[in-house]
């Protein structure tokens, strides 16, 4: 009897020991990613929240000031303008990228000579480093020696240089133009892949049933691309609203604050003016909206995976 109990207890102890070792190995395996998450995401995030409630300047300590920085921002005369600029660039930019991207995807989905080359060339704006692309556009928009003005003046369309980046009328559209140019290939390639996943039989059946091109587009193409459209638009909205280089390199937020966006404002307050307490408050003011968008994207993707 004792001989049968001892092996059973030994087996139980062995199993518990094995499970404990397995758990330890599991924790060790996820430890690097947890450390990275804590160090690169969690710590900076909570540190930013703390900074935003202090009057800290670079190199010196600061005191707790509560919500003063947020109140200062809300009372800043150009806060509403900055908010509007950020979302105008993002929403209008995404809308135009969607239209251009979808149109190009439809063209590239057809068979024609040079289609492969065109697909490659159309990826170039997206492949080019943003810094290089934006500086090139800045040169194109340049006042007296920029390419656009030289062309317009030599064709007699304008009598003098147009201040593309220095005018309240043209500065924001100029920024949006560059944002669209840089980002439309992402949409085009995504929609091209989506188009190729739509079964051709649907189009053939619709054609047999007498549907015209617009009806086929409306009832087959758009529903077929629905998921890709949602993902690309939501992701692009997040990325574009977070972008920094376009406004910083083209206009610096000017003229005055007419193209100011929250990313450039954060940089100017924190790095140029040394007021990192106030600078930390700026992106946190926009966090609820961005967090909402991220939750939307995540839920949509998870729902699609479950479906």
């Amino acid at each position: 009897m004792a001989n049968s109990v001892v092996p059973a207890r030994r087996a139980q102890a062995t199993t518990r020991g094995w499970r404990a070792r397995e758990s330890l190995i599991g924790y060790l395996l996820v430890l690097p990613i947890i450390l990275l998450f804590l160090g690169l995401i969690a710590y900076p995030f909570f540190n930013a929240i703390w900074l935003s409630v202090t009057d800290r300047i670079i190199g010196s300590g600061g005191n707790f000031v509560g919500l003063r920085n947020y109140l200062w921002l809300l009372n800043w005369p150009d806060f509403a303008l900055m908010f509007a600029n950020t979302w105008t660039i993002a929403i209008v930019g995404v809308a135009i990228k969607f239209c251009v991207g979808l149109g190009l995807a439809l063209v590239m989905n057809e068979r024609f000579f040079g289609r492969g080359l065109l697909r490659g060339v159309l990826l170039l704006p997206w492949a080019l480093p943003t810094f290089v692309a934006v500086l090139t556009w800045r040169w194109l928009f340049e006042g007296q020696s920029g390419v656009f003005n030289v062309i317009l003046q030599s064709l007699g369309i304008t009598s003098g240089p147009v201040p593309w980046l220095g005018s309240t009328t043209f500065a924001l559209p100029a920024v949006i133009t560059v944002v669209v140019w840089k980002g439309f290939p992402f949409f085009a390639i995504g929609y091209l892949a989506g188009l190729q996943a739509i079964p051709q039989e649907l189009y053939e059946a619709a054609h047999v049933d007498g549907a015209n091109a617009i009806q086929r587009f409306r009832h087959i193409t758009l529903p077929g691309l629905r998921h890709v459209i949602m993902i690309t638009c939501l992701l692009s909205l997040i990325w574009t609203s977070n972008s920094f280089e376009f406004v910083y390199l083209l206009t610096g937020g000017g003229p005055s604050n007419r193209t100011q966006v929250f990313t450039v404002m954060t940089y100017q307050l924190g790095i140029q003016n040394m007021r990192i307490g106030e600078a930390a408050a700026v992106p946190l003011m926009f966090l609820p909206i961005l967090a909402g968008l991220i939750v939307l994207v995540t839920r949509y993707i998870l729902r699609e995976e479950e479906g």
């Binding site: 190995i25 060790l28 690097p32 450390l35 309240t168 206009t251 937020g253 000017g254």
Partner: protein, 455 residues
């Protein structure tokens, strides 16, 4: 059942458990290995590694030939001392200044740092500078004494915190050939300036006032501030603690800029998108008839467009309604040693400063740079006999500094970083605010900053 001691030990198979165990060990080792460079740097900091590496930060200026001379000096000195120098040479704005901000915040500062005068004052509250009073006195004694601007910039709270290396001044550059062709003379007042430029320019080919109207071009902040002083308006009083911007003189100045100068159409149409290089570019491309700039344009002309240089007349800014005109002077660059640097490297940094100040090193550099020396001995150089360059030397000795009419302080340096004068102007020109609204906002911003320093 007893074990058979003579049975051979079975070969161990590759089990899932072994794979998992090995994977965990590999991941941990990788994480530790990735931290080794950081540990190595730390060891170096606490003196466990050989002390031959020094980091040197150099400002790339608008006079590249001078930069190459200075970088050559750094290289030569490093070889003579047997040092391994890591040299970072970048333009000041926005690159090196932003790098310095991050360094001050993290206390990861270079061993030798070329720094502008404004940054010395701006970062002084962070208490990162080493007291270099003894070195400052030694160099001053050896080279005939420091100019006032150098002394006032380096001295805070009775001690010196950096060694000035050059003084910068901006003066008006006029296209003498264009003015002569149209029978015009160099204007003496701002009213004359507007009229002269209206007659001299031929838009869209040329525009009279090559002055930026942009917060991104910090040059224009200096120009408009000096202009504002000539109208009798100032940001603070003589104590440098009380804000005085909300005045009738300020309103008169804003009215002149918005309703006379701007409406005269003498600014280039894209002036609101200019950066600090744009006015240089406009003058060099011969699309601007005047610019307010340091001597970097003249230095550029020597190698690229000598005729443009010969056709340039240098003069101070025009006078305002007070009958006065003002020119600026500021320490262009100096050398800072930080208190985070180990003592032995501080000594080497001091040695570098003494070495680069010697005639064999300093004169070739200052001749190609666009600034003036901060010490009396080097004003005897041949280059200052050139009448164009002589004006910059004179301005360096007599110009006013940031913080005027008060002293240069961390409060005035922080206010300057907000480019408040051009911001006020743009409120009127771009945002169509009333002059009163613009002045009131400017006062609020200034008081908010000064309120942190002076209760």
């Amino acid at each position: 059942m007893d074990r058979n001691p003579s049975a051979a030990t079975p070969t161990r198979k590759l089990s899932r458990r072994r794979i998992l165990r090995s994977g965990a060990a590999a991941a941990s080792l990788t994480a530790i290995a990735s931290l080794l460079p950081v540990a190595g740097a730390g060891c170096s900091q606490i003196g466990l590694a050989p002390k031959k590496k020094m980091t040197v930060w150099i400002i790339r200026s608008f006079a590249p030939p001078a930069d190459e001379v200075l970088l050559g000096h750094v290289d030569k000195w490093g070889k003579e001392k047997g040092l391994d120098l890591e040299v970072v040479a970048e333009i000041e704005e926005p690159t090196l200044n932003q790098r310095l901000m991050a360094a001050v915040e993290s206390k990861q500062l270079p061993d030798i740092c070329e720094i502008s005068g404004g940054r010395i004052t701006l970062h002084y509250p962070a208490k990162v500078f080493e007291d270099v009073s003894a070195l400052y006195a030694e160099i001053g004694k050896q080279y005939g004494g420091w100019f006032k601007v150098a002394d006032q910039t380096a001295t805070i709270d009775g001690k010196q915190w950096a060694i000035p290396f050059s003084i910068d001044s901006s003066l008006m550059h006029y296209r003498k050939d264009i003015l002569d062709k149209k029978g015009l003379k160099i204007p003496e007042t701002w009213d004359e300036y507007v009229e002269t430029m209206k007659k001299a320019q031929e838009p869209p080919k040329t525009y009279g006032a090559g002055i930026a109207l942009s917060k991104g071009a910090t040059d224009c902040e200096g120009t408009f501030k000096l202009m504002m002083y000539s109208f009798g308006a100032t940001w603070c009083d003589q104590t440098g603690q009380k804000i005085t911007i909300n005045s009738a003189e300020t309103r008169k100045f804003l009215d002149f800029v918005a309703n006379t100068m701007y409406k005269a159409g003498i600014f280039p149409p894209d002036a609101m998108s200019w950066d600090n290089a744009s006015n240089n570019g406009a003058y060099q491309n011969e699309t601007a008839i005047t610019v307010h700039n340091p001597a970097s344009i003249l230095v550029w002309c020597l190698d690229n467009k000598p005729e443009l240089g010969r056709n340039t007349a240098i003069a101070g800014l025009p006078k305002g309604p007070t009958g006065k005109s003002f020119n600026s002077a500021g320490v262009r660059v100096g050398w800072a040693i930080f208190n985070t640097t180990p003592k032995d490297k501080q000594d080497l940094a001091a040695d570098w400063i003494k070495w680069v100040y010697q005639k064999e090193q300093y004169e070739p550099w200052i001749a190609k740079a666009f600034a003036a020396p901060p010490v009396a001995k080097y004003e005897q150089m041949e280059v200052w006999k050139d009448p164009q360059r002589a004006g910059f030397l004179e301005a360096a000795k007599t110009g006013i500094m940031g913080g005027y009419p008060g002293p240069l302080t961390p409060a005035s340096a922080e206010l300057d970083s907000r480019v408040p004068t051009i911001s006020m102007i743009l409120r009127v020109l771009v945002d169509k605010w009333s002059i009163d609204q613009a002045v009131e906002e400017a006062e609020k911003v200034a008081k908010d900053i000064y309120g942190k320093y002076y209760k």
